[in-house]
Symmetry: C2
Subunit: 322 residues, 2 copies
């Protein structure tokens, strides 16, 4: 039950904490409608059934140079195992150059249907004429998950995320997994169906939470091979800046057997990122600096070791789909 | 003759110093084909015919936060009089917010058909399928003026720059003038014709050099009201970093009667701009820091005063069109 709340809360945060109630109600629909896996991911990877597997994952690559610099550094130091890329964002070319120079890096796509910052916006990859429902009145992607979920036509979401995958591949990125920026692609059953369809089409593992694996009408969308996360660890605004390390170390001590993803948002608290994240302390530049400081700290390595956490990557999971 | 070379050289630099020979050959065509104005701009503005008028102009707003921050600061201090905005670039929304909060600011549009940096790229404002000739093979605007000029269909250039004007207006910007990033819209007679057409349509003054006003086949494009610049002052790679102030102060001392635009490229030499301008010291982040340092220095104010330079804005010129 705790994991359930943790996950719902985390997704709400991904949606920028706005319209949380509406987002949760959408998730309830999903939670009631999916099916169970018969074998744990740990067993499928050759570990004991009660192993504690953790993917340490950095979100939002390509959104800003500051995020890229911090994330590349954390990847290079093995402080994070995996990361995902926002293809419509201005710094995609920087990330593509990194991907080409680091062919072993575990980089997925953070499929993006929203543009949430105040003075720094982006549009879709697909031709505007082909995806009109993706645009807010200002001419950019919708700023909030609930607005995106309410307005986007599923066939246009499919067109756009296929364009994002194709653009990434064309730029030399070989994605190891797919996930979804601000949870938009798990915000409604129709959008989730698009997400699953594209993931299956490209034969990639994707972020599907355990809650979606219980029972119900979406069961048929998940194949026997599909993987589900048992829980997600992510900082949230109730965590005081001074308690950042305590939050993460406690979460790692409390890890249950199963597959957990720890989602971090890395960046440097510099002029660029402060401007991108103007008026938005949650998931802002100081937040991202704290995440960066924690994952690159010796305390993080120590607590992982002390708690017998097995670090895995999305590409390990991808091998199960072959 | 010196002015002529200065201008040709300046435009070559605007084109990032690549393919200079090809660019100059295009300009020769233009230089041989335009007509003369009958009255000087100084006279039309009510100054003596031999007045030295200077527009101190910052280019490239919206390309990066670092450029915006330095340019807003210089505008606020009256260190520069005017600036122009790259509408397709990621930070447009930041500039639009500044424009709405500073309705008297003299802001024009730096019409953009190129995307020249290595790891930070952008596309057009118009729907992709309506402007296919604007794209390089990587899916962004062409990186060089000569490539853009060789590939872009004039009717698609017109569609795109009209979309840029409309996007700017919709975001709350009231442009006072139009100019052209990297000189693309003055690189061929066909593109120049599009530039003039759009400027006339919106009744805005635009950057037309004296060279275009001599004689020839483009004469019919310029109306009696259109304004032409007599010369352009801009730093170039032959200027050593230590001689930056000397270059500008000498240029101001050497100003001839007529209308001159001093084009500066402002920015801070910080992590963001160093990354945007990777592998490109010409017009790079240190260059932009030097330009910022010079225009905000007391020496700049002093040399302008000592040389009886009359500072004007594009919106002063715009009044002549009403």
């Amino acid at each position: 039950m705790k994991q359930w709340f943790t996950f719902i809360y985390g997704l709400g945060l991904l949606m920028c904490l706005r319209k949380l109630a509406a987002a949760i109600s959408l998730l309830f629909i999903l939670a009631a409608s999916t099916g169970a896996q018969t074998k744990t991911v740990a067993e499928r990877l050759g570990y004991p059934a009660d192993a504690k597997l953790l993917i340490v994952h950095a979100d939002d690559l390509a959104v800003a140079h500051s995020v890229d610099a911090a994330s590349f550094d954390a990847l290079d130091k093995n402080a994070v195992a995996s990361a995902s890329i926002m293809v419509p964002c201005p710094w995609l070319t920087e990330v593509a150059a990194y991907a080409r120079n680091h062919p072993d890096a575990d980089l997925g796509l953070h499929l993006t249907l929203t543009s949430e910052w105040k003075i720094y916006r982006w549009g879709p990859v697909e031709s505007k004429d082909k995806v009109p429902s993706l645009f807010d009145p200002a001419g950019y992607l919708w700023p909030e998950t609930v607005l995106a979920a309410a307005h986007i036509k599923p066939e246009e979401a499919e067109r756009e995320i296929r364009a994002q995958v194709e653009r990434a591949v064309a730029s030399g990125i070989h994605p190891t997994h797919l996930d979804t920026h601000m949870g938009t692609l798990i915000a409604t059953p129709d959008l989730f169906a698009v997400f699953v369809k594209i993931a299956h089409e490209y034969n990639l593992p994707f972020l599907a939470p355990r809650l979606l694996g219980e029972r119900g009408k979406l069961l048929s969308l998940l194949s026997e091979k599909d993987l589900v996360l048992d829980s997600v660890v992510m900082a949230n605004p109730s965590v005081h800046a001074d308690a950042w390390k305590d939050f993460y170390t406690s979460a790692i001590r409390d890890l249950k057997p199963g597959l957990t993803e720890m989602i971090v948002h890395l960046g440097h608290d510099d002029a660029e990122l402060q401007a991108v994240m103007t008026d938005h302390p949650d998931f802002g530049s100081a937040w991202r600096q704290r995440d960066y400081d924690f994952v690159t700290s010796p305390e993080f390595k120590k607590v992982l070791k002390e708690n017998n956490v097995i670090l895995v990557k999305w590409k390990d999971l991808g091998k199960l789909l072959k």
